[in-house]
Symmetry: C5
Subunit: 335 residues, 5 copies
């Protein structure tokens, strides 16, 4: 009997240790950092705060003003029992809520589409790397060097695409992935990733001309480079075409009206709390809106953005492992 008891006890302990985790559990950010939820909220809100704080303060003051006027007898609050007016306001609120949901949905889809494109990039780079490694024949040690340089160009394509999407200059990671001549050339072009794609194609065609690459496999590998360029174009599309601007303006207009109406709705009940509540509500709504507009362009450095650095490093890691490990394995396992 005793054993069963102790078992129950242990299970309880385990149970509550798990429960405790939910209080103090840590969230993993995309960047790989683990923070508890206070830090996460702090980190995330910090990124939107500068943009919305002035508005929050203004709406708080406005709410305070309304409660002041109400106290001094100005009949500024909506009367308690006005069934149909209530109605009109409710409709407005529902419509406004739906528009906010629509905005959130759209931003989320865009974010997710960006993620899918980078996921496809990882896949395509892996397939191209394995494909080139296995398929292209080596006739001399120099061929091997060139092949490895081309595999690194695949990673360089991804990094250059990241920098291109962020409108940043080429950095040392790109430099480390190619020869010096290439790096100089790259700095002259307006569209580095396209240029790198061109070099990869050129390498493949050249190997075909040297009879190291079959025409069918050349065509199949060209198809994968086409996919690279498609992914590049897809990301540019997301970057350059946000939600039609008219919708975000309409949403802000409605948000303004909502914040103007809110104190009038609640002042008769909450009196002096009006200002605080209004500030809090406007803070919530504005931060949702602001986050939505940040997520629409998921290629930047914001904490809600995609972890492009981590993804690029994953690709580099995979390619390096392929270069290091594969050759030896090629012979052993067939025995």
């Amino acid at each position: 009997m005793k054993r069963s008891n102790s078992n129950t006890l242990e299970r309880c302990k385990k149970f509550f240790s798990k429960a405790k985790n939910s209080f103090t559990g840590k969230y993993q950010l995309y960047t790989g950092e683990k923070l508890n939820w206070f830090q996460v909220i702090f980190r995330l809100e910090k990124s939107v705060l500068p943009a919305i704080l002035p508005w929050v303060i203004v709406s708080g003051l406005y709410g305070f003003l309304v409660s002041l006027l109400y106290r001094y007898g100005v009949p500024i609050g909506f009367p308690h029992k006005s069934g149909v007016l209530t109605n009109a306001i409710l409709t407005f609120n529902v419509g406004f809520t739906l528009l906010l949901v629509f905005r959130t949905n759209t931003a989320n889809e865009r974010f997710w589409e960006g993620r899918k494109l980078w996921g496809s990039l990882v896949n395509t780079v892996r397939n191209l790397a394995q494909g080139i490694y296995i398929v292209v024949k080596e006739q001399s040690p120099k061929d091997k060097v060139q092949k490895e340089a081309t595999l690194r160009l695949l990673v360089a394509f991804a990094v250059a695409m990241k920098l291109h999407l962020r409108a940043e200059c080429l950095d040392e990671q790109v430099e480390s992935l190619m020869s010096e001549i290439q790096y100089l050339k790259l700095q002259e072009t307006h569209h580095p990733p396209l240029q790198i794609a061109f070099w990869i194609r050129d390498y493949l065609q050249h190997q075909h001309d040297r009879n190291c690459l079959n025409i069918y496999q050349l065509t199949a590998l060209h198809k994968l480079v086409d996919d690279l360029v498609d992914i590049l174009g897809g990301c540019e599309r997301i970057l350059k075409t946000p939600l039609p601007i008219i919708y975000s303006i309409k949403l802000r207009q409605l948000l303004l009206i909502f914040c103007l109406l809110l104190p009038l709705e609640i002042v008769t009940n909450l009196i002096w709390w009006t200002g605080v509540i209004t500030a809090f509500v406007s803070f919530t709504l504005l931060s949702i809106e602001e986050i939505g507009s940040q997520m629409e362009e998921p290629f930047g450095h914001d904490p809600s953005d995609l972890p492009l650095d981590a993804i690029c490093n994953t690709m580099q890691h995979n390619v390096e492992e392929l270069i290091t490990l594969a050759p030896s394995s090629e012979f052993d396992w067939r025995v």
Copy 2:
């Protein structure tokens, strides 16, 4: 200690300079212009105003009439406490709101599908350009000229497609991208982009007959031209099949009823403000509806439309850079 203080100060400054941006920040239009939000609103509303202004004025006058009648004792407003009637109206409002959201969603999807098609066009043109450049062998300098002419035909396809979608005549940009004979021929045809696609195919087939282009690669390039024609057909589909007309008519009917009912709902509370509020609400709803119907056909010149000119110029730029830069790079980097 002092240093930390000044640091805080600096951070504060930076913080508020960022905050200030949100007040005076500039929006980037698709066309590349940067305007502050007053200008953006002005620009956008201007495009819908002529179509909706008369209706806004009429509904404002109607609202004023209702408040006049109410003041002179006509029992025209809904009574304050009619729970179930309120209900019926609320249901109508919710249904109406959902239909408006449905309309907005559909228009947005159509806009976004149009954007995707043009994004694919950019990708396909880039792939075809690089493919043709690398794969087709040159036996004489004349071949090089012809190849470059064909690359420009790719851009011409995009521009001709843009003009075809806008039902405009061929312009000088098209003319500058092809020979004179071709331009004359093109003016005779009813469907210029199809004709250009035909020429590109013809060029490819001709190179194959001259043994400058392998049969596999010919097939792969033909596939890309097929994609061009698919994109063209997709855009025509969006252009020619708007939301079934019956829905936009139903929506307008409901919108009319909504504007007729609104003053009766609010007149008992707002009295003389009724007209103004009614005009404002009808303005908001009508402009949402109007913008929706503008966005459905995203290939025109409206400020909410797709920046087709900019996209075409991007393609032309990419192709020109390929022609200029590539040949020299071809030799250097392999060293």
Copy 3:
């Protein structure tokens, strides 16, 4: 100063002439006809009226009966202030509205999918036509005749598919697009479009056997014929599998209950208007439902259906232009 004034005047005129358009503007039907909105409504409503008129009359009479009973003192209307009952009705209304939106959405998606399939048909026919024209070699004038006959068979496929979807017999347009022997054969088969697809494949294979068509290009063209058959199957799928019948029955049940409850909700306020309002509301809802069920099968002759005749004519036009114009252009532009 004067000039500026006159300019303002002109702009005003232009502004209002555009505004005027929105009053008297004409809608373009899919068929190409342009009608003003009275005619459009009339045309569209006419197609649904016969099916829903009896129900509208019945619900109007029922509304009148309710108001009659109410006047004679039967306590048939819902009491003014029954918060929670109101609630139950509101929930029902919201649920009903959502189901109606669901139905509308589904019908619209089906309509749009049908449109996409026909759009792909246009693309595939264009690609096949250009592909066959360019790729198949001609050894004798007879070959050219046969090639053109095959191009026309592509159009015949589209027309036969249209007729097959409408469950109509072959008409003279089909007859004009093929030889007499073929037309006779076609009348024997149960599935004319499949038979035509078979002939096109057979022609391609035959050209391959005569060494006029490369094996790769044969395979690529076969792939396009596969796409034709896929499109055909997709349209049959839409035609044969409407929204699960149980949903449209449930929707009608709820619609009936809605119309039964409505007069009880509004009779205490509207009294004698009850009948008219009930008839109008039931008219609106029933016509939405009816239009939805019409749009689900978008291949017929209803005014909301897809303009299949126009699409088929576009294809025929494109193919004829290809046959007429292309050969001459083939030689000129390469100079």
Copy 4:
């Protein structure tokens, strides 16, 4: 004048005969049967009734109990005017309604995805049949017999897949479509459709080895067999992974709470009708839920399920027509 009158009369007649149809119109079930709407409702409800009747009776009795208690003075109904409680209930109702809509949507998507897969199956079988028929060369009459046997194996694949999805044994339709040896083999395997796909591939490879089938076309046909296996896997996926079970349990929990609360909401107004109304409402909701869970697995024998038998027969019909008609047509029309 008279003529016009009679014309009007005739049109009226026609109009009302059409109207009459909407009263007595027949619905076409997927199985091809035509029933009027009483029969359809009866047929459909019958399939869900056994599962939900007990619950309906229980909730009816519970409603009756509530009205009994209310009559004897137990203050069991919600008070008339409790604005905020009303609110909480309303929120619950809206949330519950949204969850029901979510469930319906998911079930419908799953149904429709199943339909699409079977539509693709029809297309792929048609393409494979025509492809094999045209492409594989015949060197002897025996070849023709074998080819026709393979075409029938395509149909056998579809039928075996149907039976596999329904967890049924092989039936005589499968037996009639293959040789006796094959049928015996098939009974030994655990996964008949996969085995049949293997045979089709084997036949194709064998024809290639005999030089009756080109390597490219072999690859293209293999691709189509790959599609067959993809479709099979897709249907298995739908079958084996219903909506996560936790959702349907949560939905039933909420449904239970809803039925417990409903009588309390309406008893103060409806008194003795409470039982009947509660039973009816619970019947409607439960049948929606039940239909949803039936439609999730659309491959069975329920009246709402997909008409797999009819689809299989269509395929068989198409293949038989191909075998019968095609050979003769092959020669005639080229003249």
Copy 5:
């Protein structure tokens, strides 16, 4: 007559036995176990309980505190009739509900996308297995052994991918599917599935070099291996990119506010029941939220997760059956 009676009786019995099933019916879990609904609920709730129980207890205590304060006369509950405040709360509730639905939808889509990827994995493994089995020629018995080893590597890929997604070490199932040397190599790599994909490609290329595999079919099989890697990347994407963390934080914030407001809404009506009801409502909402966040990562061991073990076993079973049965069938049926 009697017969008919007994028939009715029997039908009744059958009817009720079916009805009874709905009371005691068993649900099939993904794992294949069959449990009745008490066990299912218990199993499922158990998995989320540890994480949410503390919160449930806290909110219950809070609700009890509110009712205590209310009883002692603190005017803590919302007043009965405050139309517009009610309104503001209702709007909040609707918005909150919509966000919860959004979250549920997103989690479900992610779950379903994961399921689709694993479904595609099954299809691709089947296609690759049949393809390799049929297409690769055997020149010696050793070839057959190697071929079967490669088929098992396909299963090993799936199992290794499962372990990789779960961040678990290689287990004996993987070990049993490959040679010892391979298993040792695999333990060194950081990304076992990628390594296995490399081996499969290497095997195919090697067979091509030995003239046992045609170049076209090699390319087609390489394409299928590309698909394997794509599926792997897709699953990694789902695993590594949950719903943007900001949304789940916002949702929890709103959930907290909701639970804080609820007792104030209902205390005036329910008094001492407040605590119980609050605890129950918070339990329902928290478990929905928790389940959502569990389903987002559908590759683990939770009872709501995908049955990856079962899927892997299905693949192993199919491959083993192919190895066992196929060879004999290859000869028989062609007779």
